[in-house]
Every structure is written in structure tokens, then in C-alpha cells.
């Protein structure tokens, strides 16, 4: 705690905010059929959905890193109208209802879509209903979080580090890999965590674009949604497992990335 005292009204509001997080979690914990957790954990469907969720969300994060960091670089280093347009475009998926995003993805990559149609006609490839589609949907929805975080990091970065590196004879690539990227590590990490968390919880765009098939596109949020209708207990158990696994990965990664 710092020396400065936080005014009481702010503390009260902070408490209310915290409650908003804690109460649903408490509800989940209290209502959880703990005796079923073991069985659910061993059930093959659970493993399938969980494995798929982790695979898709981590792949989506990797893709977002590969595409999002360069995109953030372009955003941070352009100015004027172009930048405003690019920025609005990149952040669009954040304000778009995910289901609408899913429809938009269908219109782009579907069998009748802008890119999907030539792809299907030429190679017989159909993107929707595949695991790749689930990854695309998650990337689409989650990448803006990474881009915004990295762009913020780039804006806060002292450009003289890069200038010094160039003056020392480093090529653009070397500057990026050895100076820009390492200095951006905290921003990239927080962006990647936000992105991954968003991808892991993705539902709307995935169900619309990729459909729901166990083992192929049925990630945990989809499985939870289906189970909620018929087996609410199982849904709670599945949610808890997802929560625990996410926390474990987050803590593990945090130490590795930010460990001093």
C-alpha cells in the first residue's frame, strides 16, 4: 500500500466492483457438485473440449502475436487519417457483437464468401466447420486486445533506443528483434494475456462461423452452453475446470515472462 490514502467513496466503489467479480464466482463454487468433479474431469468429452479450447486459444494467440505486433507497429508509426481508419478497423471486433463477427467471417471465408468462394472452387477447401475456423474466429475477436496493448507500449517507448541502434549500424530487422521487441515485452505479455483470455472465452463468433462439433469445433464455452440446457451440473463443473486451467497457465506464464 502506498502512503496516500484512498478516499472512502472510491474504496466503496472498488468494493462494489470486486463484489461483481466475487459473487458470480462464489455462486459457481457453492453450487458446484464437487462430488462430480472427479468424474467430469475423467470424462472423455471434458478432455476433448478442454484440449480443443487450449489448442485453439493458444494457436489464436500465436497467430495474433505474429500478425498483431506488426499491425501495432504500423498503427503506432503512421499518422493522420490513415491511422484513424486503420485503428477503427482493428478495434472493430471489440465493439462488434461476436455473433455478427461470426456472420461477417462466414461472408468472407465461407463457401460463398469473398475469399472462401475462390478457395472452395479452386481447391475444394471449406473453412467453416473446421478447427481452423474456430482458430480464425478466436483470432478475429481476440487480436484487437493484443494490438491495442502493444500499440500503447510502442507509443510509450522512447524512440531513441531504436535510433541509437540504427546509428550503431543495425538493420531494421535487427533493431526490431533485438531492441524494439525486448523493450516491448511487458506490453506484449499483457496484450497476449488479454488476447488469450478473450480467445478462451470466445463463444458467439465460433458457434456462428465454426459450428459446434465435439472434437473439432466444440470448445469449452460451447460445451458449457450445450450442457447448461440439459445437464446444468456438468456445465458448472466444466466451467470450473476451465477456470482452474486458465489460472494455472496464467500464473505459470507470468513467472516465466516477467520473472526477474
Amino acid at each position: 500500500m502506498s502512503e496516500a490514502r484512498i478516499p472512502a467513496p472510491l474504496l466503496a466503489l472498488a468494493g462494489a466492483g470486486l463484489l461483481l467479480f466475487i459473487l458470480p464466482l462464489a455462486g459457481l463454487m457453492l453450487r458446484a457438485p464437487w462430488d462430480q468433479v472427479g468424474g467430469a474431469l475423467l470424462a472423455p468429452e471434458t478432455g476433448t473440449a478442454l484440449g480443443l479450447s487450449l489448442f485453439c486459444s493458444l494457436t489464436a494467440t500465436a497467430v495474433a502475436l505474429a500478425l498483431g505486433i506488426p499491425l501495432a507497429l504500423v498503427l503506432a508509426r503512421t499518422t493522420g487519417t490513415l491511422r484513424s481508419v486503420l485503428r477503427a478497423l482493428t478495434t472493430l471486433p471489440m465493439v462488434l457483437p461476436p455473433v455478427v463477427g461470426g456472420v461477417a467471417l462466414l461472408l468472407a471465408f465461407g463457401r460463398r464468401g469473398l475469399i472462401g468462394a475462390p478457395l472452395h472452387d479452386a481447391f475444394g477447401i471449406q473453412v467453416p466447420f473446421t478447427t481452423a475456423a474456430a482458430v480464425i474466429a478466436e483470432t478475429f475477436v481476440a487480436m484487437p486486445f493484443l494490438v491495442i496493448a502493444v500499440e500503447g507500449g510502442l507509443r510509450a517507448l522512447d524512440r531513441r533506443y531504436e535510433e541509437a541502434a540504427r546509428a550503431l549500424g543495425a538493420s531494421g530487422w535487427k533493431v526490431f528483434l533485438r531492441v524494439t521487441l525486448p523493450l516491448l515485452r511487458p506490453a506484449i505479455f499483457s496484450g497476449a494475456v488479454l488476447c488469450w483470455a478473450r480467445a478462451l472465452g470466445e463463444f458467439g463468433a465460433t458457434i456462428t462461423f465454426a459450428g459446434n462439433l465435439p472434437g473439432r469445433t466444440q470448445t469449452v464455452p460451447l460445451a458449457v452452453y450445450i450442457a447448461l440446457e440439459t445437464r446444468p451440473q456438468a456445465a458448472i463443473v466444466l466451467s470450473l475446470i476451465l477456470l482452474a486451467v486458465s489460472l494455472a497457465i496464467l500464473i505459470g506464464l507470468r513467472d516465466r515472462w516477467l520473472g526477474v
Binding site: 531513441r160 533506443y161 535510433e163 550503431l168 549500424g169 531494421g172 523493450l183
Partner: protein, 343 residues
């Protein structure tokens, strides 16, 4: 190795327009007030900002807007040293120095550090260094790449006054062993005089004066330089034995010739009296003491009146004259103490 630059840089309503020639082995100090365009000049020479005109270094054309040639920063072989070291915080001192080196980088970097007496800091991280050490490492990092042109942007100004002298000595020693062209940007005249062979005074984007440190301070051509040299600078029109100042006052100065001139009066040449002095001095004006400032053994008195001047007197004179803020005095300057030169 020599540098010939004739460039214009336009940025947000500000224009830098100058011609600069630096001879092999010469250290040029760029002096000027804040916002004069000193840093912009360095960045332009480093290839970091687009410019109009031509930059030629060691016979190579680095920039020529006529032919569209522009050599990117990383291929110019220019060294850039910033005000605050700008060492890469995620690399050790050794890695920082090795960054710009090609073959045998680590061993060579260690040698450079050892030569500079910083060998034991090789594995330290930049945040573990003192300000002076960090700046010395930054200089080594740049010198190790053997640049043809060394650009130093106020290399000492971020340092504590107590260690500035030490780092300045180190800098001076390092510069002596460097063969390329050296350009130093500073607003500290002491730094400029200690390190530079030649001063270039930059004001509002243009060169107002250039010359050796003693030459420049002997005949200031701007208020900025006069302040640096600590002298009174007056400007007016000479008519042989007197000068009509721009403000309307007339001062006597023999053999001033005819035309626009600068007149420099050293503050020590300004004598102060309680009543109008009798005798030789022909330049006597009423004045009011606006401000008194004790500087070492002397007191600088800022005078307003017909001719605004700064006088430098001894503390005992201040007591005798009962000089205080707002005091009315007579200021006298011998005509022979006025140095006059063409504007």
C-alpha cells in the same frame, strides 16, 4: 575525413537552414539557445530526419535531394551519443558495447571497456551504473563502431555537476584518439570551449557566427553569444568618432569608421559613481541599478537607463556606493574600453 553539409529541414513551422563544413580531425561545437535547431541538425546529419540539400562525408554523398540519394542511418557510419546515455536497458554493458560490432564482437567490446577502465562493469546492467559511468559506456559503445562522424548531443548536460568535470576529461581524452569528424551540441559554453576547436552559433535555425572559441567570445554577434561571454553587446551606426545606438543614445568611440557596427563593453570597464564624475570619461550616463548578483569575488549590477548595461564591481565598491536595488547612479565607460567591429 571531412564533412560538408548544406541543408534545410522544415518541421512543424520551424526551418533549419545552414551550411556547415568541418575539417578532418576538427571538433565543432554547436551552441545555441533552446529551440535553435541543434538537435534537429544532429538528427538530420544522422539521417533520422528528411532534409533538403546535400551532406557529404569523407567524399561519400550521404544525402542529396537533387539526385534523391539518401543513405539510411545504419549505413552512414555515424555515431550518435545522446544527452542521457540511451543504453539498451535489457542488455548488459558488454552486450551494449558489442551491439554495433561485427566480427569478434564480445572480445572486442571487452577490450574497449577495459581500455576505458570500465572492464569490471562489463556484466553489469545499465540500471546498475552511475550516470557518469553510463554516459562513458554510451560513448564507448559508439566509438567502438569506428564512426566517421561522431555526433554528441549535449553529452554532459544530464549529469550531476559534481561528476561533469570528470566525464568531460574522459570525453576529451576519448575524442583526442578519434580520427573522424566530431560535432558536439551543447548549451554550456564551458563544455564547448573545453572540447571544441571551433564554435558554430546556431540561432533560430541559422548560423549566426562561427570561429574559434576566443574569436567568437571576443566579437559576439548576438545577444546569446554576448551573454555566454558575459559582455555587454550594443548595436548601432558608427560615424567615425561616435556611434548612434539603435535606442537613440550616442556613445563616443574613436576610429569607429562609418556604417553598422557592434560595440562590446566588458562589464569591468563600466565604472559606477554616486555623482557625475569629472575628468576624462566621455561616456557618462544616468542609470538605475535594477538587479545585483554576487558572482564569486565580483558583483554584477544590471543597469537600466539610456544605455542598458551590466557593470561588474567589487563588493567593497557596492558598500561605498551604498548600492542597492533601485539606486540611482552614474555609469561611465572610457572610450578606449569599447571594442567596435563591423556588424
Amino acid at each position: 575525413m571531412s564533412l560538408h553539409a548544406d541543408i534545410a529541414v522544415r518541421r512543424n513551422g520551424f526551418t533549419l537552414d545552414l551550411k556547415l563544413d568541418v575539417d578532418p580531425g576538427e571538433t565543432v561545437a554547436i551552441l545555441g539557445p533552446n529551440g535553435a535547431g541543434k538537435t534537429t541538425l544532429l538528427r538530420a546529419l544522422a539521417g533520422l530526419v528528411p532534409l533538403h540539400g546535400r551532406v557529404e562525408l569523407d567524399g561519400d554523398v550521404l544525402d542529396d535531394s537533387a539526385t534523391g540519394r539518401h543513405v539510411p542511418t545504419e549505413r552512414r557510419r555515424v555515431g550518435l551519443v545522446f544527452q542521457d546515455h540511451v543504453l539498451f536497458p535489457h542488455m548488459s554493458v558488454l552486450q551494449n558495447v558489442a551491439f554495433g560490432l561485427k566480427a569478434d564482437a564480445t572480445r572486442s567490446a571487452r577490450e574497449w571497456l577495459e581500455r576505458a577502465g570500465l572492464g569490471e562493469k562489463a556484466d553489469a546492467m545499465p540500471r546498475e551504473l552511475s550516470g557518469g559511468q553510463a554516459q562513458r559506456v554510451a560513448l564507448i559503445r559508439t566509438l567502438a563502431t569506428r564512426p566517421r562522424l561522431l555526433l554528441l548531443d549535449e553529452p554532459l548536460s544530464a549529469l550531476d555537476v559534481t561528476i561533469r568535470a570528470e566525464v568531460r576529461r574522459d570525453l576529451s581524452r576519448q575524442l583526442a584518439g578519434f580520427e573522424g569528424v566530431r560535432i558536439l551540441v551543447t548549451h554550456d559554453p564551458l563544455e564547448a570551449i573545453a572540447l571544441a576547436d571551433r564554435l558554430v552559433i546556431l540561432e533560430q535555425g541559422t548560423v549566426v557566427q562561427t570561429g574559434t572559441p576566443s574569436g567568437v567570445t571576443a566579437q559576439p554577434r548576438s545577444r546569446f553569444v554576448a551573454d555566454l561571454a558575459g559582455v555587454n553587446l550594443l548595436r548601432g551606426h558608427a560615424h567615425h568618432d561616435h556611434i548612434e545606438l539603435d535606442g537613440g543614445a550616442v556613445i563616443a568611440a574613436p576610429d569607429s569608421g562609418e556604417g553598422d557596427v557592434f560595440a562590446v563593453i566588458h562589464p569591468r570597464a563600466v565604472a559606477l559613481y554616486l555623482s557625475r564624475p569629472e575628468g576624462t570619461p566621455r561616456n557618462v550616463w544616468r542609470a538605475k541599478a535594477e538587479d545585483l548578483d554576487l558572482q564569486g569575488e565580483r558583483v554584477r549590477v544590471r543597469l537600466t537607463g539610456e544605455v542598458p548595461l551590466v557593470a561588474e564591481v567589487t563588493p567593497s565598491a557596492v558598500r561605498e556606493l551604498r548600492l542597492d536595488r533601485g539606486a540611482e547612479v552614474w555609469a561611465a565607460v572610457k572610450a578606449t574600453e569599447i571594442s567596435v567591429y563591423r556588424a
